[in-house]
Symmetry: C2
Subunit: 334 residues, 2 copies
């Protein structure tokens, strides 16, 4: 059997998956941000006529997945697996959206790294011959996440400057074994790195060492330099985490002129999001919208998307545990 591994942590696909379509749905704040025009649909408010924020998040994820399926021009029953996840307890947004879709379902949890993780595992299922088409869907919602992870939103408490704002958004992709579109050519699945950060209002600092670890391993494994990529983009470290990550990478001898972060790009400074955005919907919609646009237009020939996750829970934080971080990297080529 042909082993597709290179170095310690990376796999290079023999049959890269093709991103046949992408679709993104976001809330009003994301729609008003610098990337607003790159999203397929902008809701006028965060609940959109639903009975609760949780139901709204499920509906948003369903809209994104239905949108991606429609744009791919394939029929839903041609899709072999749905890979989906979100931030809510027991990933209920993904579970309920999977109920609507009716496709064999693999639920993933990687916090904000879920989009990159789903793209990696989805491509493994295609490259391995287990699926012809895979649907990927990832969501987060500011109001469902805020009340679950932190405080009642009604309380209106002041946020720390290092805190990130959870994106209301859902992104979806249809991956296929052949066809026209950008290709997912390699993936580096991360291991957990935890430097002892305990502040749930500073997730950027918690995730930075894990993202740096995955990036360093990726470049070693692939024997590539930063110049081999038009963009390396994490999703999502925010300003604090991005600065820390670049510092760590510099020390390891990797110098980037082209390292950005989905959580830094999606809001304007005037939108008062403090350290930037987070939430697994963030990298999902920035990839499905903005990045797919740049790749399809030819501006980016090869990028590295590094999903970053803070794998704590309110319970573990209250019990005094630190926040385990993880980073998963995928290579996307035009």
């Amino acid at each position: 059997m042909n082993l597709k591994r290179i170095g310690n942590q990376t796999v290079v696909f023999s049959n890269p998956s093709v991103i046949l379509s992408s679709y993104s749905v976001v809330g009003p704040m994301e729609g008003q941000g610098p990337l607003g025009k790159t999203f397929n649909k902008v809701w006028k408010d965060n609940i959109n006529g639903n009975t609760s924020w949780e139901v709204a998040e499920t509906k948003m994820l369903e809209e994104a997945m239905e949108g991606a399926v429609k744009q791919s021009q394939i029929k839903k029953d041609e899709i072999d697996y749905l890979l989906a996840g979100d931030l809510l307890n027991q990933i209920i947004s993904a579970n309920f959206a999977a109920r609507t879709m009716g496709i064999p379902f693999i639920g993933l949890y990687g916090a904000c790294s879920t989009m990159a993780l789903s793209m990696s595992v989805g491509t493994m299922l295609i490259d391995g011959g287990f699926a012809r088409k895979v649907l990927v869907g990832v969501s987060s919602h500011h109001d469902t996440a805020e009340r679950q992870y932190r405080l009642p939103t009604e309380q209106g408490g002041q946020r720390a400057m290092s805190a990130q704002w959870t994106v209301t958004g859902a992104g979806s992709l249809v991956l296929g074994q052949s066809g026209e579109g950008p290709r997912i050519t390699a993936a580096t699945i991360g291991r957990i790195v935890d430097f002892g950060e305990t502040d749930a209002n500073n997730m950027g600092a918690a995730m930075a060492p894990a993202v740096a670890d995955t990036v360093i391993n990726h470049f070693q494994d692939m024997n590539r330099t930063p110049e081999d990529y038009d963009l390396i983009i994490s999703g999502d470290l925010g300003n604090v985490g991005l600065n820390l990550t670049q510092e760590v990478l510099k020390k390891s001898g990797l110098h980037f002129r082209n390292f950005s972060d989905c959580g830094v790009l999606i809001y304007d400074k005037s939108q008062d999001a403090h350290a930037g955005a987070s939430g697994c919907g963030c990298s999902a919609v920035v990839f499905a919208g903005h990045l797919m646009e740049k790749i399809k237009s030819g501006q980016y020939k090869r990028i590295l998307l590094v999903g970053s996750g803070a794998l704590h829970s309110p319970t573990s934080s209250l019990q005094g545990e630190s926040i385990p971080g993880i980073g998963h990297a995928v290579v996307i080529e035009a």
Copy 2:
């Protein structure tokens, strides 16, 4: 490329994974049950000297994984991926145990179906050429689950007769691309089926239609009959769910003399567990202990393990949502 799919939902592996080792750690109640002697380690109480039940669950999962690695006689750094999950919010038991193991980590959420889901995806990663060795680890803990999903355990409220008792247990397997041991030869990943059951104290009823759906699809896809298996075992429906599933299967023309359930086997009637056991640790330890023993002794030549999951959360139940069920089936052969 060679497509490994058969029928609608099933994949048959070209290079089945080999279960190189298995290890199970349980709490005292599971140790006192009918399968007590089949587990590798029985804790004397549910906390085992740790600072909280949540920390205890993480430690139990670590013990199971370290045990499986040790028994496989391979080194930890030969393992390419860790696939793990549990019932807690944001799967913290798996995340923190993954931090200790230091292996590239894919977090899965399938509620009580997580063991079968991990075995399926783990074998895909091996068969597809992405991994040489995969470590699988799944846990649940009665006291962490009870206070998260239902009521404070201190309250001592009366339980419904249809309620299942969450197993305190962690099971782990090392899967390899070659070697001695039982093999995972096929998998049927389920889709969500929801007949509108809203009672979180009757998860058996919520999961039964989904398990039946996966079983029917498996036999159709494989063109096999119940007689082709020494055992079909769900994990875990409990008494209520097992009866309902058998009723549905009878109506579809499938008659089983050999259909059992991990949640029915693990406790004795005298242990007052009501409808039986649940929790993703249940099928994990029944498989890693009892079933592995029977397969290795030659009593079972081929079995079908059908992991069953109730994919709700306390929030979705309080908001009046029904419980989405799922079933994932894996074929294990001596």
